[in-house]
Amino acid sequence: MSNASIQAPVPGVFYRRPAPDQPPFKEAGDSVAVGEVIGLVEVMKTFYEVKAEQAGTITEFLVENEGAVTAGQVLASLTSA
């Protein structure tokens, strides 16, 4: 077990849901696989998927839904298997 994080690929606004009326991609405590989408970042009206680069369990989201983020900012922490 080691600690890891998921970072914003580009600066912009972080979304935890695929659409406002849909449930979040992931909640704290959920497990993620490599390449799995955990959220979106909107930059200049274009959306980029945020993907986990390693498998593990999300311990915490560090940015709330619709929060402003910088490139490389940690969005979620996880413990990798």
């Binding site: 580009v10 600066p11 606004v13 200049m44 402003a68």
Partner: protein, 463 residues
């Protein structure tokens, strides 16, 4: 009553444009800005800045309560919404007026009426403005659809009544496929929108986008001729011209008179744009929609008519009425505007972010650059990619193209990549020069255009 203090509920280049017009009229200016726009060019120019919220637009520029609170704190007596954001939100226009401010634009009722597709279409038809032939309202069963389709003619579109933004549309080419397609469209509409209502509309295959600028004071309305905005990518205009070089003088008169008649008929107040699709093979034009606000491409109209549209809007809002008669509006020369977006057009239009270290803006006679840029500006990622608009004006289209080519060569925003390079390619394109395009042309031409440019030897000489 003359206006005293104007709140600008917008950002970017249009906020700068509005500030300048307000200042010329001696108005005090307040900019409603998000936290990400504290260092914007507009914030530096405004007399006062009111911070309305965090960077995301839903919490700032799209938050009516935050903007109304800023208006109250600042003591502004008028509000200009610019374009986009809340500019066509009827409820917001009503709230601004209920708060005792002048809303620089039409009434909430007018915005509501022209914002509803079906109501706008009906209003246009009543004013004698041609609308796209189609079923009046919903079509219930495939038999009825087949009968109506015969009257409308093929090709036609089946649209979901509850759809919008291009969703729920099917193109049908002949009677043989109609029944089957109508049944499918109903099932799809039911699944997607919970409403199986459909309607039919004639499909104009090779259309140009032509729009007419209007100004009204609630009683009288005039037109300021037309713009052609046929060059589009993903339904977004990228290149606009005034006037349209595709129209004959007779067709121009017919189109522009129809728009002015529509505006006067609804008692329109302020600046507005009536959009049409135009089929230059048949000479038919059809009403598309009306935008009840200032448009991005308004400067091209200003260049060829000499009328300052924002000044006119502020005058009308201040109760001065329309200080212009139709016969005083005269066309002079040709204008072209291109949208300078922070996008890497060679890399799928990927947003290009960062700090503009070098800034060299084009200048000289007949060259205007409306922008939010200044040297050292750090482009925020939260908003659209429009950095500025390069507008040229000259004697005729041929000269204007030459002026555009030269001005594009002067622009430098390094290291931020913009769409200027794309326009440098388009300005040389034989189809663009000869007006051989429709609204789908650019999207189809792009891959070839970029490939040819990538192979060109000029690539290495620009280092």
């Amino acid at each position: 009553m003359p206006l005293r203090k104007l709140l600008i509920a917008n950002r970017g280049e249009i906020a700068v444009r509005l500030l300048r017009a307000a200042r010329e009229r001696g108005l005090a200016t307040v900019l409603a800005a998000s936290e990400a726009d504290r260092d914007s060019l507009a914030a530096g120019l405004a007399d006062e800045v009111e911070i309305i919220g965090p960077p995301p637009v839903r919490k700032s520029y799209l938050d009516p309560a935050a903007i109304l609170a800023a208006a109250e704190r600042s003591g502004a007596d008028a509000l200009h919404p610019g374009y986009g954001f809340l500019s066509e939100n009827a409820a917001f226009a009503d709230e601004v007026r209920e708060a005792g401010l002048v809303f620089v634009g039409p009434t909430g009722d007018t915005i509501r009426r022209m914002g509803d597709k079906a109501a706008a279409r009906r209003t246009a038809a009543e004013a004698g403005v041609p609308v796209v032939p189609g079923s009046e309202g919903r079509v219930e069963d495939p038999e009825e659809a087949a009968r109506l389709a015969g009257e409308i003619g093929y090709p036609l579109m089946i649209k979901a009544a509850a759809g919008g933004g291009g969703r729920g549309i099917r193109v049908v080419h002949d009677a043989a496929e109609l029944r089957d397609q109508a049944l499918r469209a109903q099932a799809e509409a039911e699944a997607a929108f919970g409403d199986r209502g459909i309607y039919l509309e004639k499909y104009i295959e090779r259309a140009r986008h032509i729009e007419v600028q209007v100004l009204g004071d609630g009683e009288r309305a005039i037109h300021l001729f037309e713009r052609e905005c046929t060059l589009q990518r993903r339904h977004q205009k990228v290149w606009e011209e005034a006037p349209s070089a595709s129209l004959t003088p007779e067709k121009r008169e017919e189109l522009c008179a129809a728009a002015a008649r529509l505006a006067e008929g609804i008692g329109y107040s302020g600046a507005g744009t009536v959009e049409f699709i135009y089929d230059d093979r048949t000479g038919d034009f059809f009403f598309l929609e009306m935008n009840t606000r200032l448009q991005v491409e308004h400067p091209t109209t200003e260049m060829v008519t000499g009328v300052d549209l924002v000044r006119a809007m502020l005058g009308i809002a201040g109760g001065e009425g329309l200080q212009l008669r139709q016969e005083e509006v005269v066309l002079r020369g040709h204008s072209i505007e291109v949208r300078i977006n922070a996008e890497d057009y060679r890399n799928q239009f990927f947003p290009s972010l960062g700090r503009v270290d070098h800034l060299r803006l084009p200048g000289g006679p007949g060259v205007r650059f409306d922008t939010l840029l200044y040297p050292g500006y750090d482009i925020p990622p939260f908003y659209d990619s429009l950095l500025g608009k390069l507008i040229v004006h000259d004697l005729d289209r041929e000269h204007a193209l030459g002026r555009l080519r030269a001005a594009l060569g002067e622009l430098d925003t390094a290291p931020v990549v913009t769409t200027a390079g794309l326009f440098s390619l388009l300005v040389e394109d034989p189809d663009v020069r000869a007006l051989r395009f429709d609204t789908q042309w650019l999207e189809q031409r792009l891959p070839g255009l970029l490939e040819e440019a990538g192979a060109a030897p000029t690539e290495t000489t620009t280092r």
